[in-house]
């Protein structure tokens, strides 16, 4: 882990489109009631502190860190569930790849159960599934990992709310102000349109952006389906450095 300040790092990012993101206070998702700030955000111009950020290029990731089918295996056998590869490219708003950045992911098991002491859902734990992993993007911004498809599960919000199958993602970029957490859904899942957390986003096109596409070309025959999920981080407005830099 170390930091990096790109040339032009004081240059502003494009302003965040807050209407594209969920608002803070979304009554349909009840947990926001006491956790949503009520004041307006303070608009802050770019400063070195937030336009720089940590990088993880030299972290030694374990060989199984991006293999959720095996990385928690207790007895050497694979996790239970529909095998799949999730991959994609991390880009910025200027459509430039974001290389050497950390991507972390976590999910429920095939039955919709998380490995967490506070989790009370009656679906069984899989003794060989931990439910998390991490990757560093390659020079073209690509990441990939192997996992099983997470199950849908009920959660205490309304009387009978269910989360669609999803995977949580955390992504860094090269500036602390690019930091992003989101969730990936699966193409064609009707549960997406019934979910109060998905519904915190107003724009259908924005929800589509969170929906991974089945990718038959990259399916591993007789083994695993493939889903593609590209992630877009904020981009820099500066034009004067645009010929020089990755992720400028």
């Amino acid at each position: 882990m170390s930091g990096i300040i790109l040339p032009g790092a004081d240059g502003a990012l494009y302003q965040r489109d807050r209407a594209w993101h969920p608002a803070a206070d979304t009554p349909g998702y009840k947990s926001t009631t006491f956790r949503a700030p009520k004041h307006s955000l303070l608009a802050l111009g770019p400063t070195k502190s937030e336009m720089s950020g940590p990088t993880f290029g030299h972290e030694k990731l374990g060989a199984l860190d991006n293999d959720l089918i095996r990385n928690f295996s207790q007895d050497g056998s694979d996790a239970i569930g529909q095998r799949m590869i999730v991959y994609g490219q991390v880009l910025d708003e200027n459509a430039r790849p974001v290389p050497h950045t950390l991507v972390e992911y976590w999910q429920a098991n095939a039955g919709g159960r998380y490995r967490h002491k506070k989790e009370g859902y009656l679906a069984a734990l899989d003794p060989n599934f931990g439910g998390f992993g991490r990757s560093i993007t390659d020079e073209n911004g690509f990441y990939h990992f192997r996992t099983v498809k997470p199950g849908a599960y009920p959660w205490p919000n309304g009387g009978n709310d269910w989360r669609p199958a999803h995977i949580h993602f955390s992504v860094f970029g090269h500036a602390f102000a690019q930091r992003l957490i989101t969730q990936m859904y699966f193409e064609g899942d009707p549960m997406i349109w019934q979910c109060p957390i998905v519904a915190t986003i107003n724009d259908k096109a924005a929800i589509d952006q969170l929906t991974a596409r089945l990718d038959r070309q990259n399916t591993t025959p007789m083994d695993a389906l493939a889903y593609r999920f590209d992630i877009v981080l904020r981009g820099r407005r500066s034009t004067m450095f645009e010929n020089k830099l990755e992720g400028n």
Partner: protein
């Protein structure tokens, strides 16, 4: 020159959910054996210039209840006011001071960081900003990560002239970013997500 226009939309945010600790601090939530350590748990890896400090950052919701399922990341300059210099991808050298930390909120809603007191960094106006630490906060019920800063009570003079603090028109609300000094080397900051003492959060 024409103003540049983004060609892609940023991926929309979704809440980190109640189980963010599984993905980001698995050892903390009793899933050992996959990662040797939780990333960001240690910021100091050797001899480092500067005053060693502890930052206790407590997350509190609008009903006054501490968040025991939150997570805080910090990013800061070193004692000389520099951010850690770039390291080549795949090199093995971990910097003595990383500048970046990640801690889960404990049962009392407190994320505790062992770090050093940052030096002053030049602000957009060319003047040094007061020593500060940048914060990023996520949890269940937070739809998009909250960004703010921590400043230090014992830097009153520097705080007076700080570029960011001075952008907060209501002077009383500036206090929401200033960590209280508890004793030698220990600072405490309450982050109020809403209510009378709501913290000033940024749109950066």
């Amino acid at each position: 020159m024409l103003h540049p226009v983004p060609t892609l939309k940023e991926t929309p945010s979704q809440t980190a959910g109640p189980y963010v600790h599984i993905g980001m601090t698995p050892n903390f939530c009793d899933i050992p054996g996959v990662y040797a350590t939780d990333m960001g748990s240690t910021m100091i890896n050797g001899e480092v210039e500067g005053e060693r400090i502890t930052l206790n950052i407590r997350l509190i919701d609008g009903a006054g209840v501490p968040l025991n399922d939150g997570l805080v990341e910090i990013w800061q300059a070193d004692a000389s006011g520099s951010f850690v210099s770039p390291t080549a991808p795949n090199s093995n050298s971990v910097p003595a001071f990383t500048g970046w930390g990640r801690q889960p909120a404990n049962g009392d809603g407190v994320a505790a960081f062992e770090t050093i007191k940052p030096g002053r960094v030049a602000g957009p106006d060319g003047k040094p900003m007061a020593p500060h630490v940048s914060l990023w906060i996520v949890a269940r019920g937070i739809n998009i990560g909250l960004q703010t800063r921590l400043y230090f009570e014992d830097e009153a003079e520097a705080n007076e002239g700080d570029f960011v603090l001075n952008k907060i028109m209501d002077k009383r609300r500036r206090q929401t970013l200033i960590a209280r000094k508890e004793n030698a080397g220990r600072y405490h900051l309450d982050i109020h997500l809403q209510g009378e003492k709501e913290t000033v959060f940024f749109d950066i």
